[in-house]
C-alpha cells in the first residue's frame, strides 16, 4: 500500500509496521467503495461516493492536464545510474529495472512541454508508483531541465509532486538534489519565470523540503499528506499524540503553508486561470 511507504528518508528509530491487510488498489480506503479500473480512470481516480483522491499515475495526470496532443515529452531517455553500487536486501539496479517494468516509466518523474487551455507551459509530473516517487540524481536532473526549458521559452512550470522524499540508494547525491532543484527555481525566477506547485498525496521529506515548497503558488489536493516527517516516525520519535489531521493538506492550509486545496476535478480550470494571470502577454 502506498501509505506504508511514505516514511522515507526520515530519522526512523523503530521498525516499520507490517503493511495493513491487503486492500485492492481500486478499493477506496475511506469508504470501501470498489471500482473497475476504467471506471476509476474516467472519474480522474476520485471516489464517487466520498471524494477520496486515489493516486494518479503521471501519464494520466498529463493526459488530463495537457491539451490533447500538445504534450511533447523531454529527456525521456534519462535513467538513474548506480553510483554507490548500492545493495541492501536487493541490488538497486534490480529495483530500478523492476520499477520500470511495473510502471512503464523510466523514472519517478515525467517532464515535457505542453499547452493547458492553449497556454504554453512546462509540465513536471511525479509518479509515486516508481520507487515511492523518490528523488535521486535522475529525478533532480529532469526537474532542473524542466525549469531550464521553461526559462528559455519564457513559460511557467507546472509541477505535480508525489514523493516519499530523497532516494536512499543514491546516498548523499540524493540529498544534493534538494539544493540542485532549489537553485534551478531561483534561476527560473531570476529569468522572470514562474512556477505553480501542485502537491498530490504524498509530498513529503526531501521533495517538500525543496522545490515543491517554492512555487509562486502552492496548491494541494484534498487529503494529501504533506509533511517533512511522516506521522509514524513523528509518533515513534516523540511519543506525542498526533492530531487526526496531522500533516494533511487541510492542516497545512490552516497553518498557512499552502494557498488552496483544489479538488482534482477543479484543478485544470484553476491552473488555466493562474496561467492567464502569469502570462507575459498581458
Amino acid at each position: 500500500m502506498a501509505e506504508s511507504r511514505i516514511d522515507v528518508s526520515i530519522e526512523r528509530k523503530d521498525e516499520p509496521q507490517p503493511p495493513e491487510g491487503k486492500r485492492h488498489p481500486n478499493t477506496c480506503p475511506s469508504c470501501g467503495s470498489h471500482y473497475r479500473d476504467e471506471e476509476l480512470e474516467a472519474a480522474l481516480r476520485v471516489c464517487r461516493q466520498c471524494g477520496h483522491h486515489f493516486p494518479m499515475p503521471a501519464r494520466e495526470r498529463i493526459a488530463h492536464l495537457a491539451d490533447p496532443g500538445s504534450f511533447e515529452e523531454e529527456s525521456a531517455e534519462l535513467r538513474s545510474a548506480d553510483p554507490l553500487e548500492f545493495f541492501d536486501l536487493r541490488p538497486y539496479r534490480e529495483r530500478l529495472a523492476e520499477a520500470e517494468l511495473q510502471t512503464g516509466l523510466g523514472e519517478a518523474i515525467v517532464i515535457g512541454r505542453a499547452t493547458l487551455d492553449r497556454h504554453p507551459c512546462e509540465l513536471s509530473v511525479m509518479d509515486f508508483s516508481f520507487m515511492g516517487g523518490s528523488m535521486g540524481s535522475a529525478v533532480g536532473e529532469k526537474f532542473v531541465r524542466a525549469c531550464e526549458g521553461a526559462g528559455e521559452r519564457g513559460v511557467p512550470v507546472i509541477s505535480v509532486t508525489a514523493s516519499g522524499g530523497a532516494r536512499m540508494q543514491e546516498g548523499i547525491l540524493s540529498l544534493m538534489q534538494l539544493p540542485k532543484t532549489v537553485c534551478a527555481i531561483e534561476d527560473l525566477y531570476d529569468a522572470g519565470g514562474s512556477m505553480i506547485s501542485v502537491m498530490a498525496h504524498p509530498t513529503t521529506a526531501g521533495v517538500l523540503a525543496s522545490f515543491a515548497s517554492l512555487g509562486d503558488v502552492i496548491v494541494a489536493e484534498p487529503g494529501a499528506l504533506l509533511s517533512f516527517t511522516g506521522p509514524r516516525v513523528v509518533q515513534q520519535t516523540t511519543r506525542e499524540k498526533l492530531p487526526d489531521d496531522f500533516g494533511l493538506a487541510e492542516s497545512n492550509y490552516r497553518f498557512g503553508h499552502v494557498d488552496a486545496i483544489v479538488p482534482r476535478k477543479e484543478l485544470r480550470p484553476y491552473l488555466a486561470r493562474l496561467l492567464r494571470l502569469f502570462s507575459r502577454e498581458r
Binding site: I10, R12, L84, A138, E170, F228, E240, F246, F255
Partner: protein, 310 residues
Amino acid sequence: MSADEQLRLRERLAKLKRLSLLGGTRLQSDLERLEKQLERIEGVATDEEIWRSVELARHSERPYTLDYVARLLEDFVELHGDRGRADDRALVAGIGRFRGRTVALIGHQKGRDLKERTERNFGMAYPEGYRKAMRVMELAGRHGFPLFTLVDTPGAYPGVSAEQHGQGGAIARSQALMSRLGVPIVSCIIGEGGSGGAIAIAVADRVLMQENAIYSVISPEGCAAILWRDAGQARKAAAAFKPDAVHSLELGVIDAIVPEPPGGAQDDHDEAARLLGESLERALSEIAGTLPDVLRRERRAKFRGMGIHA
C-alpha cells in the same frame, strides 16, 4: 604514506576527475599516476572505517559549534530569535571577527550534558531555527559579511509543532536564500550532516568536511529500518550509503577535507579548532572579493552539477 598525505592525494584525484572533461595529455597522465598510487594504498575506506566515522562524528566529547566559535572568533555576539515566534537553541547564529574581518556564523549546537542536550534539542532544529538562520543570512548579505556555517545535526526535528510551523518549507526557503546571497559562504560539516536539516544551511561556495564527520541523506539507523527492516543493521546501511568524508569528496559533494588531530577532534579541541580555522581561512581567501553576481552564478552552477545519472 601518512593519513594526511593520503587525504591530499584523494582530494587531488577527486578534483582531477571532475576536470576530466578538459582532457589534455598532461592531465591524463597525472590522473593515471595518482590512480596507481591510490591503488597501492588500501583503496577506498573500508566498512570498518566508515563506521568509525559514524561513531566519531557522534562522539559526546566532539567539539561543537560554540567550542569553535570560542577559539576562532573574537568579539562574538550571539543573535537570538527568529523575530516571529521563538529562539531555537538547537541552532546558534551571530557575528564576530575572524582574522581581522567581521563575519556572520550559523551553526547547529548539540548539548554537552543531559540538561543542555534537552535545551538544545540534541541539535535538531525547529523551523524557528531555520528562520533565525535566514534572518542572519540576510543581515550578512546586507552588510557584505562573509558567512560561515557549521553543520552538526542528526536531522531537522520530527515533531508535531515542527510540522505545523512548516519544517519542509523553512528548509526549502533557507536553501533558496543561500542560493541568492551575494556574499562568500563557506560551510563545514563538523559532526553529523543529517539530511534536510543539514543542507538547509550548507548551500555554500565552498563546502568542507572534517575528516571524521558524516554527511548523509538519512541516518544509518533510519536507512536500516526501512531497507533492511531492522534498525540494528545500521553498520550495513552505513557501509552501503557511504556517509564518510572521503566518499563525499569523491562524489563531488564537498570541496575539501579538514584534517583532525590524530585520534579525532574530541581528543584535542584546540588543535581541531586550529586546523578548522586554517581551512576556513584558505577557503574564504579563494572567494573573497568575488563579485556578488559571480558568486551566485558559480554557487548555483556548482550544485547544478551534482548527481550522477545515466
